[in-house]
């Protein structure tokens, strides 16, 4: 039964460009655009949840790692004229290495201090992206970032990009599932739930925290590279605190530590604001209040509610 449902969902998602084209032909481009964003943000939210939901380290550096990947790919593809595939491959590597390097001082901090320290890193990254004009072009933004491709073959059409984004989401979801389910996943959860107990069972907390942080960071960097190749422009504002807030809302509304919850949260929070066409400031006020209410009333999010219903029924 479950297998059938998954197969139907996969089929519908894959066939989405045609379904959208057949039903709402005049809005096909816009709807596909929202779906591409949803897939990319769901993948990013999953990579974030690896750190927040599974090892319990509340990092706020994720937008910075996303941005570092994005800048790596963008600058290599435009200024250095690398072929896209190489520039793209460099993005997760750079972001992963940076995540590891900042993890060394950051994991000396615990709990709130870790959150604040990583936020500091995010702020500094944005300051550098804005002010190092010779390198990042600062507020002038990196423009003319090429579309993804391999050799002469390019992904230029909207449906093709949708499938690329969907494949990315599927890959990240698979990796997320693999990393959090088996032996490694149990070690992650042990570290999250009781650090002292985990350490006494020879599960080194720092090692697993660092692993999740570096993998999450590398994935964020890769997704950042895809994001800029889709949008074509990269500005320092793209890695602001707003992105952190979006990710927190997605993960905590969906339910930290739940694959299904996080994907649902990401879908709700990418599609809803688009549908409602809210002004960004109002959107942030509403997000703030929503986040406050969710975290106080339903700290387990949609994922938790679904699990409880499944257990009751």
């Amino acid at each position: 039964m479950r297998g059938v449902r998954w197969a139907v969902a996969a089929l519908v998602l894959t066939a989405a460009p045609w379904i959208v084209g057949a039903t709402v032909a005049d809005q096909q481009r816009y709807i596909l655009h929202v779906m591409i964003f949803t897939a990319l943000f769901a993948a990013l939210a999953l990579s974030y949840d690896l750190v927040v939901g599974h090892v319990g380290s509340l990092s706020l550096a994720h937008p910075a790692l996303f941005g570092i990947g994005a800048y790596t790919a963008a600058l290599l593809a435009t200024e250095a004229r690398w072929p896209f595939a190489l520039a793209f491959a460099a993005a997760p590597v750079t972001a992963g290495v940076v995540a590891f390097a900042i993890g060394v001082p950051m994991f000396r901090l615990t709990e709130h201090s870790f959150a604040m320290g990583t936020l500091g890193f995010a702020v500094v990254t944005q300051i550098v992206a804005t002010n190092w004009v010779d390198f990042t072009r600062g507020p002038l933004c990196v423009t003319g970032i090429p579309k993804p491709g391999l050799g002469a073959w390019r992904i230029a059409t909207l449906p093709a990009f949708y499938w690329l984004a969907l494949a990315t989401l599927a890959l990240v979801a698979l990796l997320y599932h693999g990393l959090t389910t088996f032996r490694l996943g149990r070690a992650f959860h042990a570290v999250r739930d009781d650090e002292t107990l985990a350490a006494s069972a020879a599960i080194h907390p720092l090692k697993y925290r660092m692993l999740a942080f570096a993998i999450g960071g590398a994935l964020a960097g890769g997704i950042g590279a895809l994001y800029v190749s889709y949008v074509g422009v990269l500005c320092p504002g793209d890695l602001g605190l707003g992105l952190s807030v979006n990710l927190l809302v997605m993960v905590f509304l969906g339910g930290a530590g739940s694959l299904r919850g996080v994907v649902l949260g990401a879908a709700a929070f990418t599609a809803l604001p688009e549908a409602l066409r809210m002004a960004p400031t109002w959107r942030m006020v509403i997000y703030g209040v929503l986040l406050l209410v969710i975290v106080i009333r339903w700290p387990e999010g949609i994922g938790g509610l679904l699990r409880r219903r499944a257990a009751a029924g």
Binding site: G56, P105, H112, S113, G120, F121, L248, V285, G288, L291
Partner: protein, 289 residues
């Protein structure tokens, strides 16, 4: 040389601002073990309250400053009663996200109400430039320094001499024992929030004539004040104050001699360097205010 002295005075002004915000943050952490992510927003709201009282209502400067401080004291009271009380017993994840959410709501609410255009609040003192042997300093800066010294002396007297202050110190050492001997733990937590919010608003009333007020001034300020709290040794108020001056001076000298654009990154770099050398902060890990 004169230039250097001017930078030092600027650094001390900045340090006073950071110290008043960081002291509140450290006080809260000491007493209720909670990091208030929305602390910079107390400063921001205090700044707007001061602007409204001074520029719009035309109250005299000291009255407007005190009005803003007491108004934010009330805001701190309301914040404790509504948000903080519901999350005090929860995990630090919940506390952090709830206070972060408050900060986002307040910042964007301020954009909706006041707009993004910075508010300027020049006073008589900020436009009076004192000259002494070629050294030019705005009188307001001297007021900030004098007021900061007075505030910290007052705070020291308060926590060591008064009954409420002693209860706060006791609570920072052992909450359960306090409850056992009949100290009203919730009242003390409430008082801590009122005092911390008042400190941030007082800082706003003092430095707003020098720096403008704008809606997202709080985020970076919270971060720098928190860096000071970490550098000073977690939850140790005097350490946080000393570290604030260290960060203020470093920042001002960086802005003057190295790079103005990167001055906001300094607090964080100081924090990372201190953490690498002394993970427990410069002044040890003595929990207690």
């Amino acid at each position: 040389m004169l230039d250097f002295l001017e930078q030092i005075v600027h650094g001390l002004t900045l340090g006073s601002l950071y110290a008043m915000v960081a002291a509140g943050l450290a006080l809260m952490f000491g007493v209720v073990r909670l990091i208030n992510f929305a602390h910079g927003e107390f400063y921001m709201l205090g700044g707007y309250a001061f602007w409204y009282a001074y520029r719009e209502l035309g109250l005299p400067y000291p009255v407007a400053g005190l009005a803003a401080t007491s108004l934010l004291g009330m805001f701190g009271w309301a914040y404790e009663r509504t948000v903080i009380r519901t999350i005090l017993a929860r995990t630090w994840h919940v506390q952090l996200i709830a206070t972060l959410a408050t900060s986002i709501t307040l910042t964007n609410g301020a954009i909706l109400v006041f707009g993004t255009q910075p508010k300027e609040v020049p006073t008589l003192l900020s436009s009076t430039i004192l000259e002494w042997a070629g050294l030019r300093i705005a009188a307001q800066r001297l007021l900030v320094l004098a007021a900061a010294v007075a505030v910290f002396a007052g705070l020291e007297w308060f926590v060591t001499r008064t009954k409420l202050g002693k209860a706060m110190r006791a609570m920072s050492q052992n909450r359960e024992a306090c409850a056992v001997v009949g100290i009203d733990v919730q009242q003390i937590a409430l008082a801590t929030f009122v005092i911390s919010a008042g400190l941030a608003a007082g800082a706003a009333a003092l430095v707003s004539p020098l720096f403008n007020i704008f809606p997202d001034v709080g985020a970076l300020l919270t971060l720098k004040a928190f860096a000071a709290v970490i550098v000073g040794g977690f939850g140790y108020v005097k350490g946080a104050i000393a570290a604030s001056f260290l960060i203020g001076l470093t920042e001002s000298l960086t802005a003057g001699y190295v790079s103005y654009a990167y001055k906001d990154a300094i607090a964080f770099i100081v924090m990372v360097l201190v953490l690498l050398v002394r993970p427990q902060g410069l002044f040890g890990r003595r929990i207690g205010i």
